[in-house]
């Protein structure tokens, strides 16, 4: 389990991560969401001891990454755009890290098979495509068979088949009791694989809940309605008990509104269902924070 507590990082005058707190529970996939520049990668780098927090802590079962008895066997991480020495083969890269982390060398071939690079293990990474590098980065994360996985935009560079496979892999890992944190700037990308969501914008937490709760909060219909006589529309809404604000009716479907307006003789000039669903909820939550600083 990962616990992030009051984590803050300043780069000069920019506060990249601002008093962020959340937890990642075992047996679940947690989506770590936010627009570009929201502070996702910075948060993960702080959790892994690569970047020193200005304030706050990130702990795994109460211990900071550098205090873990055997870090790679407890926490696996694949950060965005993992870098490799171009002249080293995939197998040698893993073998080297396995030595440093006290992991059995036999595991290298196993993880290469898991990520689908079994046949290219003795090729130099310099010749790897972006997707192959993403897979090798994932192999590094899985090397120690850790209980906690931190994956930073793991589907970057993967083909559609790879994305589906990645989704299945994350579900599989959570199914076996692992705590999986997966970052993305698109909710729709991870929607099918996450249980919980942690949404940040401008380094601040804007929402944390099970995905189902987020969906329930935003499952109501939202319809833009423009009537020739706004007062008539307002009284109709009042009669029917609809919530109407700023020309948006929340609750009934467009068909219900249209039928009721027709029956009541209210002339409508526009009747449009807003883009619904989770992506809209996500956009609404991070709205106004979207500008990259």
């Amino acid at each position: 389990m990962l616990e992030v507590c009051g984590l803050t990082k300043r780069f000069g005058s920019l506060t990249a991560v601002d008093n962020l707190s959340f937890t990642v529970a075992p047996g679940k996939v947690t989506g770590f969401l936010g627009p570009n520049g929201a502070g996702k990668t910075t948060t993960l780098r702080m959790a892994l001891g690569l970047t020193r927090p200005t304030r706050g802590t990130a702990t795994f079962e109460g211990l900071a990454y550098e205090q873990l008895p055997s870090p790679m066997r407890q926490v696996g991480a694949a950060l965005e755009a993992s870098s490799f020495h171009p002249g080293r083969t995939a197998t040698d890269h893993l073998a080297m890290l396995a030595s440093g982390a006290g992991i059995d060398q036999g595991r290298c071939a196993q993880v290469l098979d898991i990520v689908g690079l079994g046949s290219v293990g003795d090729r130099r990474v310099g010749g790897f495509s972006m997707g192959m590098r993403a897979r090798l980065g994932l192999a590094v994360a899985l090397l120690g068979d850790p209980k906690v996985l931190l994956l930073d935009e793991p589907t970057n560079g993967l083909d559609p088949e790879g994305i589906v496979w990645m989704r299945d892999l994350m579900r599989h890992l959570a199914g076996h009791g692992k705590a999986v944190l997966v970052s993305s700037h698109l909710l729709s990308e991870v929607q099918q694989s996450v249980d919980d969501v942690v949404i940040i914008a401008h380094g601040r937490l804007v929402h944390a809940s099970p995905l189902a709760d987020l969906a329930r909060e935003h499952e109501q219909n939202r319809t833009d309605v423009v009537a020739a006589d706004p007062a008539a529309l307002a009284s109709l809404a009042q009669d029917k008990g609809w919530a109407l604000a700023d020309g948006v009716v929340v609750g009934p479907s467009a068909a219900e509104i249209g039928a009721a307006a027709f029956a009541a003789g209210v002339e409508l000039h526009q009747l449009a269902t807003q883009r619904g669903g989770l992506e809209a909820a996500f956009l609404a939550l991070t709205e106004g924070h979207g500008d990259i600083r």
Binding site: L50, P71, G87, Q110, K147
Partner: protein, 294 residues
Amino acid sequence: MTTQLASTSDEPQAPPPPQPSPLRAAWQTLVMEFRKYFSTRMWWILLLVTLAWTAMNIITMVLAVHFGGDQAADDNMVIPKGDDLARLLYSMGTTFGFVFPAIIGAMSVAGEYRHQTLTQTLLADPVRWRVLSAKFVSTVPLGALYAVAVIVGCLLFGALPLALLGDATALGSGHTWQMFARMVLAMVLWGLVGVGLGTLINNQMVAIVTLLSITMFLEPTLRSIPVLIGHDVPVLAYLPGALGDAVTGESLYSMLGEFGVSLLSLGPAVIGLLVYSVGLTVAGYFLRFRRDVH
């Protein structure tokens, strides 16, 4: 794919892995650094370059001294004879060859910044002083390896041609083999100085250029001062190149006779180069290596 996925463990309640002993942890990191050295082509490319470079220099000097030794005698130079000459020629292997272990040492740290591999290194071992210490220690055998290349170059392209030309090879003298041993020591120490340089200057190219300009330009200029002003300047013996020459025990500068810079003896010279290497590494640790890794 499902069967392959099954190889991830099934026990969420598995106890955390045991803490390895401090010695075990240090050994693991050391092995990681060794694997890093030997899993790219750089180590053997530099080894071949060291051999070729030594061969070229030594054979040129052997021929120059054999066929042109008399002309040089007009100058202030004191050209030794017999075994002493042979040893002087061999010692040039490290006079030129020291840069190669220094380069590989610098690359072991600066290369991690260049290829951004430091992130994963620190995921495997997040204890930074241990990682840097492992880089320091793992460079020792590399330095020795390059020294072997230099010595092989000396034998094949120095001793062999000398023997063929009928000149003294000095191979029968224990003093010569002692000097070879000191050359190994010098090369190892230069490797460590390289680690320090790469830790302080994280740009690989800048680190190497700095090394070359200090040792090949600045220092020779400074060391010519005593010749120009006509008396010794003792502090020059503490320059890194002078320390390296002192560890080897022979040097081109000894040809300058009484005008040459006086060198330290072996013990102080070894300590001097160690101070450079440890000093640079420790400074680099506090100024660079402990910083955020992006």
